[in-house]
């Protein structure tokens, strides 16, 4: 969406949180490519800041500010949102245990939204959520996951810190949007991948000691290439008339886990793999759950039947709404995206 078709002008201030993250850097790049010249990029650590600076330096006539700080600091939040017209929230806690992730995702979102609700210049907030918010465990095998699929509510059973924090984060965005009439659009991407991102999604399996324990079987992996996802974010931030909508972002012609693993092994070289049937994973999780209860968590139930079903039960993914209402189409084909992803992996020492 070019700036002249959007709800914001080229000199309107666009705030991007998590701007040095894997997706955040690409979002900034898309904004610049589409004519936005006034950016405020929030970063918390030095990771990838050099990459962000590199992207910003390519923008001509661009006023860009990199603001380093922590969204858990209310004063920083106030300074960050000042005069923002578009706000794109890519910030989330991705690691460090549940409490740290909760603070970085949910508490920081609350702080941001609390000051944003007083911003009378605000025209749109985009929140980047995740497929992790969906309750897929109770879907039938092969069911279609759409924006109407229920949100996860069995957090104890699922025991998944990332899912829990993303659900709570998104709930907060909707709460503020509803109570304060804030113009919100939510994106729920699948697995965002690409050069520099996570090489192997847990939906495929786990790498341990040069062996991949393949759990994904012939499931489809809901991939979205980072550039394609960033394009969806740009549209979500700028397209008129889509307030209060939710969009699943997943590319077309996504590979099965088996196919992805084949490509991954070819790229890495010298890897073994062990297929672990779904039934075996499910049985293991039941035994683990029983044992954790019986032994009073001598070994905690790090894998539960609900989590197994949420992650590795076969479902299909729908991206029709994002095409129809958001006008999104992936610019990079899945085939090209996978080539780029694995080329990068091959090039690593």
């Amino acid at each position: 969406m070019k700036v002249d078709e959007s709800i914001a002008g080229p000199d309107d201030l666009v705030l991007v949180t998590g701007s040095s993250g894997f997706l955040g850097v690409k979002v900034v790049e898309k904004l610049l490519q589409n004519g936005f010249r006034n950016l405020r990029c929030l970063v918390r650590t030095q990771t990838r800041v050099a990459q962000l600076r590199g992207v910003l330096s390519k923008g001509k006539g661009v006023e860009a500010e990199i603001m380093k700080g922590n969204l858990n600091d209310p004063e920083y939040c106030r300074r960050a949102v000042k005069d923002a017209v578009l706000v794109i929230n890519c910030a989330a806690g991705m690691s460090g245990g549940l409490v740290n992730m909760f603070v970085d995702s949910v508490v920081s979102a609350r702080n941001l939204l609390s000051v944003l609700r007083e911003d009378d210049k605000l025209r749109r907030i985009v929140h980047v959520s995740s497929f992790a918010v969906y309750e897929t465990a109770n879907l039938k095998r092969g069911a279609l996951l759409t924006e109407e699929t229920p949100i996860e509510s069995h957090h104890t059973e699922r025991n998944d810190a990332y899912s829990y924090t993303k659900v709570k984060q998104e709930e907060l965005f909707w709460k503020f949007a509803t109570e304060h009439a804030m113009p919100l659009v939510v994106l729920r991407p699948g697995v965002i991948f690409g050069p520099g991102g996570v090489e192997l999604s847990p939906r495929v399996g786990f790498l341990f000691n040069r062996t991949v324990f393949h759990l994904g079987d012939s499931n489809l992996i809901p991939l979205t290439y980072v550039d394609n996802c960033a394009q969806a974010v740009l549209l979500a931030a700028t397209k008129p008339g889509i307030e209060n909508q939710i969009f699943n972002i997943v590319d077309d012609e996504i590979p099965t886990s088996k196919d992805f693993l084949k490509m991954y092994k070819a790229a890495k070289g010298n890897l073994r793999s062990v297929n672990v049937p779904y039934v075996a994973t499910e049985l293991f999780s039941r035994i683990l759950k029983w044992y954790a209860h019986h032994s009073k968590d001598q070994i905690p139930a790090f894998l539960t039947p609900h989590r197994v079903a949420s992650t590795w039960k076969r479902v299909d993914f729908d991206n029709g709404k994002s095409k129809r209402l958001l006008g999104w189409n992936q610019a990079v084909t899945t085939s090209d995206a996978l080539n780029l992803h694995f080329q990068y992996i091959r090039s690593k020492p």
């Binding site: 600091d73 690691s95 460090g96 409490v99 508490v107 957090h155 104890t156 829990y164 968590d297 001598q298």
Partner: protein, 332 residues
């Protein structure tokens, strides 16, 4: 049978998520509100150390016994004050010195009580701490983290475990204290992370000396106690839950030296099998020491007996920590 009745955190979202995840019936973001609604018998204080005195006092005044996470307080005067308030209100107090109650520590204590070591001459306590943990990352990227307000910085959050281990064998009220501390990890030389990460302390009493080593850099992670006695030496490996007795060479010449290492290998093997046995009985929990301390504290509250950690021990630990932190180099 005790039950958790409420979670309280100044950040309401954190209190709420804790209550939701652990099915705790009530959650609050205000102590006053919590005490208006419910009267807990025991309050577990897991807040930053500079709030321990205030919250602990408040809880005792309103009728609760208190379990205070380490470090007990920010300094010795606060520790004295808190214990005094608890005593005046006839409330019991303990502190989270969980390694004192670890199975390996209890085994060591039982052996020491038989006179196996003789008199202690020197004690070494070593602890390493991985800064790539949840807590380590939390303060590394937050220049306003409460740890920077502590006189002892990172050390203050951790070394009470070391100090209380050695004070068990060091009876002197005022040992001399020498401190060497520095920052070793270049990745921590950044504006938002104003910490020192290596600490060496020498405590010297009239007849017993003690050395404390805290490190964020050496691997693997260590938690180790060595007690040198006039008869024998004992090692307590908290990670592998092994207690090893080093006796003097009992056979002459090289045979004696060969037998020494075989003897130690046999003891580690025996400890390994003991641990397997405990694991099979579901009695090998990572926080076994905490379980034991909690049971002991709750029992002392129920039965009105002496608290599991004598108040004098809590005060001595805090006082020695004060002496250590007074001698730290200035952080820049």
């Amino acid at each position: 049978m005790a039950s958790v009745v409420a979670a309280c955190d100044r950040e309401p979202l954190l209190a709420e998520q804790l209550a939701e995840r652990y099915h705790i019936p009530h959650h609050y973001s205000s102590l006053e509100e919590m005490f208006r609604d419910i009267k807990p018998d025991i309050v577990h204080i897991i807040t930053p150390p500079k709030t321990h005195l205030q919250i602990g006092s408040y809880a005792c005044e309103l009728g609760s016994h208190i379990y205070v996470e380490k470090p007990f307080t920010v300094n010795y005067p606060e520790a004295l004050q808190l214990i005094d308030i608890a005593n005046r209100h006839n409330r019991k107090v303990t502190v989270g010195h969980i390694y004192h109650f670890d199975p390996a520590a209890r085994q060591m204590r039982a052996l020491v009580s038989t006179g196996l070591l003789g008199e202690p001459v020197h004690v070494e306590a070593i602890m390493s701490y991985d800064l790539e943990t949840e807590f380590g990352r939390a303060f590394q990227y937050d220049s306003k983290h409460w740890i920077y307000d502590l006189p002892g910085g990172l050390f203050q959050n951790v070394i009470s475990h070391l100090v209380e281990k050695v004070l068990e064998f060091l009876p002197d009220e005022s040992p001399s204290v020498e401190v060497h501390a520095f920052l070793r990890n270049p990745a921590l030389r950044k504006e938002e992370s104003r910490i020192l990460d290596e600490l060496r302390v020498m405590l010297a009493g009239k007849e017993v000396t003690a050395q404390l080593t805290f490190s964020s850099n050496f691997k693997p992670a260590h938690s180790f106690l060595r007690i040198y006695g006039t008869k024998n030496t004992m090692e307590v490996d908290f990670n592998s839950q092994a207690v090893i007795l080093r006796k003097g060479k009992q056979l002459p010449t090289g045979v004696g030296r060969i037998m020494t290492s075989l003897n130690i290998a046999r003891q580690y093997q025996k400890a390994g099998f003991r641990n397997i046995n405990r694991f099979l009985r579901s009695d090998f929990h990572f926080f076994a020491g905490m379980n034991c301390l909690l049971r002991a504290f709750y029992s002392c509250v129920l039965n009105n007996t002496e608290p599991p950690i004598p108040y004098d021990d809590i005060l001595r630990t805090t006082r020695i920590m004060d002496l250590i932190f007074e001698r730290l180099p200035q952080r820049t």
